[in-house]
């Protein structure tokens, strides 16, 4: 029996309500990520990079296509099962970190572990060792009191805490200067490599290209799609969440 890929995308298409019917916001005929494989997803602003990540995480509902994580079609899972599956299989890193304010660095990592399938008795050790390995010497400090660099490390630790198969990083360097962007990418690649997680990192920053062996251009990928696909029937009844 072969080990399933970390991520498989087949004929994935999505458009926001009100978009002309011929135009897809996301149109990915096929994309695969192997175990622990890092991939840079490039594309200009508005090409649907972040939307693709939310579709992959099961936080948005595509009109067509399949997303398989560890061989499981995330969009076929019902609400609660999908949330649990995401919590155990997918880690996410955001441009603005999206840490839980009012919680300590340790609690932010523990919050991710709450929804993992790791035994609760191991949560604290796992969170502490992760933060320690990333140089967070004050794990009980509220995250809003940490420096930007430390917040980024907490976000990275949180993303890999549940030992995910896939880490999705959404423009992690967009708001950073070149020097800090290097540091941030070093960190993200280090933690995902150590966690043996595949990494799908979106960016419109061409400087990141040198860091990845595999780079996918989202616009080029979309152009490979069959034109007929644009006319596929919409299955809006599956839409769990629509952006406001």
């Amino acid at each position: 029996m072969t080990t399933p890929l970390a991520l498989e995308i087949h004929e994935l298409r999505f458009r926001y309500p009100g978009t002309p019917s011929a135009a897809w916001t996301v149109d990915v005929p096929s994309l695969e990520l192997g175990r622990a494989e890092p991939v840079l997803l490039q594309g200009g602003s508005g090409t649907g990079k972040s939307t693709l990540l939310f579709l992959v995480a099961g936080l948005m509902e595509p009109q067509h296509g399949r997303v398989l994580i560890n061989g499981e079609n995330i969009h076929q899972l019902s609400g609660e099962k999908r949330d649990l599956f995401r919590g155990r299989t997918v880690g996410m890193i955001f441009q603005t970190f999206n840490l839980l304010n009012g919680f300590t660095a340790l609690e932010n990592v523990l919050a991710a572990l709450m929804f993992s399938d790791l035994p609760p008795r191991n949560h604290r050790d796992r969170a502490t060792s992760l933060l320690d390995s990333l140089g967070i010497d004050r794990p009980n400090q509220l995250v809003e009191r940490l420096s930007v660099g430390q917040q980024q490390r907490v976000a990275a630790a949180r993303a890999v805490a549940c030992e995910p198969a896939l880490v999705l990083a959404d423009e992690p360097t967009a708001s950073l200067d070149p020097a800090n962007a290097e540091v941030a990418m070093d960190l993200i690649q280090k933690v995902t490599l150590e966690a043996r997680a595949a990494l799908l990192c979106t960016s419109h920053d061409p400087r990141l290209a040198t860091r990845f062996e595999r780079i996918v251009d989202l616009e080029a990928l979309s152009s490979q799609s069959e034109p007929a696909a644009a006319t596929l029937e919409l299955s809006t009844d599956r839409a769990e969440e629509k952006p406001e």
Partner: protein, 439 residues
């Protein structure tokens, strides 16, 4: 230790501490009000019933039976009308009624605001402050001769009087600055007069009884008659220096009430002849006959309407505290949507988010209810003290377990219901919209 839902809830509550605390206080006030009203209703009725002890009837010259009971049993104020001693003799000896006791008493004097009851030794040997419970002395003994005084437990605590201390009684109730004894209207609004020609010696200190008698002093009738006769004699002849029992005239022998109990069979508290005796006494238009227990029930029927209004008001306060919880949670929901979105990304399901907000709301209800119970306990002491000062009613402040439990549960339920709207808003939070920027 792993993180739990409780950690998330407690962080949410403490992150907006002011709002949380004020909402809890709102709930606490409503719960306390309800508990105090509901518990005090029962405790008040018990306290009123307790004061009447084992007497069946009260005879006085007051205008109404209720006033008679309030003044002669609860020391609410000094009785205005007097009964001549001849009437007492007539009732006890002339009607052929088999009295178990007929205890005369006179009120009107006071010591440092505490009322003085002049009575007979039968007050201690036959009358029981609680049916079945006899008087008990913490120190000393009951009075045996004139100018000896026994003090109630509260008087002892309030005045620090000890055995063998000497005191002088004040004519009228000192606190009121009015002399209202025996209806002598000409003396109203005069400064209090101290009977300083006659000293009383403290011979006994009573144990607490939880009855209005705890705040009274007791002496014999003869000494009281003597000090008042002395005042009258001196007013007529300033050369009078001393008055004794031998100087007493029939007009001096006045009382303000008679505690009555009809003979009963052993082990019984009521007598079959009670109603007949009551009717016989009522034929005499110069006196007022009261059944204390009936009068107390009547009083509670009168006040129960006001009571219900208060309870309705407290219920409205409780309801508005529920709305306050809803608003407090709902108004912060906009700030919390990002947090909810993050939790969803981490794997928290919509039902669990709904449950978190609902639990948070219920927790506010629980904390408010617990604070309310504490507040109610303090409030009951305040109300009990007020009742004691104004009505002479000794109420034992205690929380009715049933009402306390009901109120705590009702508060939690109401708070949980109030949390449904914000919880639904949390449930509907869209993750993507609250984790911008989007590419």
């Amino acid at each position: 230790m792993a993180m739990t839902d409780f950690t998330i809830i407690s962080r949410s509550l403490t992150s907006r501490l002011f709002s949380t605390v004020t909402t809890i206080i709102t709930v606490a006030v409503a719960v306390a009000l309800m508990i105090v009203l509901l518990s005090m209703r029962t405790a008040g009725q018990d306290a009123f019933q307790r004061g009447a002890g084992n007497m069946h009837m009260l005879v006085s010259a007051e205008d109404s039976p209720l006033v008679a009971v309030l003044n002669s049993v609860f020391y609410a104020s000094a009785p205005r009308q007097a009964i001549p001693w001849s009437k007492y003799r007539e009732i006890t000896e002339g009607l052929g009624i088999p009295w178990e006791f007929a205890i005369p008493n006179q009120q009107g004097d006071s010591y440092r605001g505490y009322p003085v009851m002049a009575t007979t030794e039968a007050f201690f040997t036959r009358f029981e402050p609680h049916p079945g419970v006899e008087w008990s002395f913490r120190a000393g003994r009951r009075f045996e001769r004139s100018f000896e005084v026994v003090i109630g437990a509260e008087v002892a605590a309030g005045t620090n009087l000890q055995i063998d201390d000497e005191i002088y009684l004040t004519h009228g109730i000192e606190d009121s600055r009015q002399r209202r004894i025996f209806g002598r209207a000409d003396e109203v609004h005069m400064e209090p007069h101290v009977h300083d020609d006659y000293a009383y010696r403290v011979v006994g200190i009573l144990e607490p009884t939880g009855s209005p008698h705890d705040r009274a002093l007791f002496t014999n009738l003869e000494s009281t008659w003597v000090i008042h006769a002395h005042d009258i004699r001196r007013a007529a002849d300033p050369s009078v220096t001393s008055t004794t029992a031998a100087d007493l005239r029939d007009a001096d022998r006045l009382i303000t009430g008679i505690y009555l109990r009809v003979g009963t069979r052993p082990g019984r508290t009521l007598s079959a002849a009670q109603q007949q005796v009551y009717d016989t006494l009522r034929r005499d238009t110069t006196i007022t006959v009261a059944d204390p227990h009936f009068e107390i029930q009547k009083l509670f029927r009168i006040v129960s309407n006001i009571d219900q209004i208060f309870i309705a008001m407290a219920a409205v306060v409780l309801l508005s505290s529920g709305i306050a919880i809803m608003l407090a949670l709902y108004n912060t929901m906009e700030q919390r949507r990002r947090q909810i979105a993050i939790l969803r990304v981490l794997g928290c399901s919509r039902p669990r988010i709904f449950g978190l907000v609902l639990t948070e709301s219920a927790l506010i209800g629980l904390l408010g209810a617990l604070a309310g119970v504490v507040l109610a306990f303090i409030g009951m002491f305040a109300v009990a003290e007020m009742m004691k000062q104004t009505l002479g009613l000794v109420i034992e402040p205690r929380l009715e377990p049933v009402w306390t439990f009901v109120m705590v549960m009702a508060s939690i339920l109401l708070a949980a219901l109030a949390g449904v709207v914000p919880a639904a808003a949390a449930y509907r939070t869209t993750v993507v919209a609250h984790l911008r920027p989007l590419g």
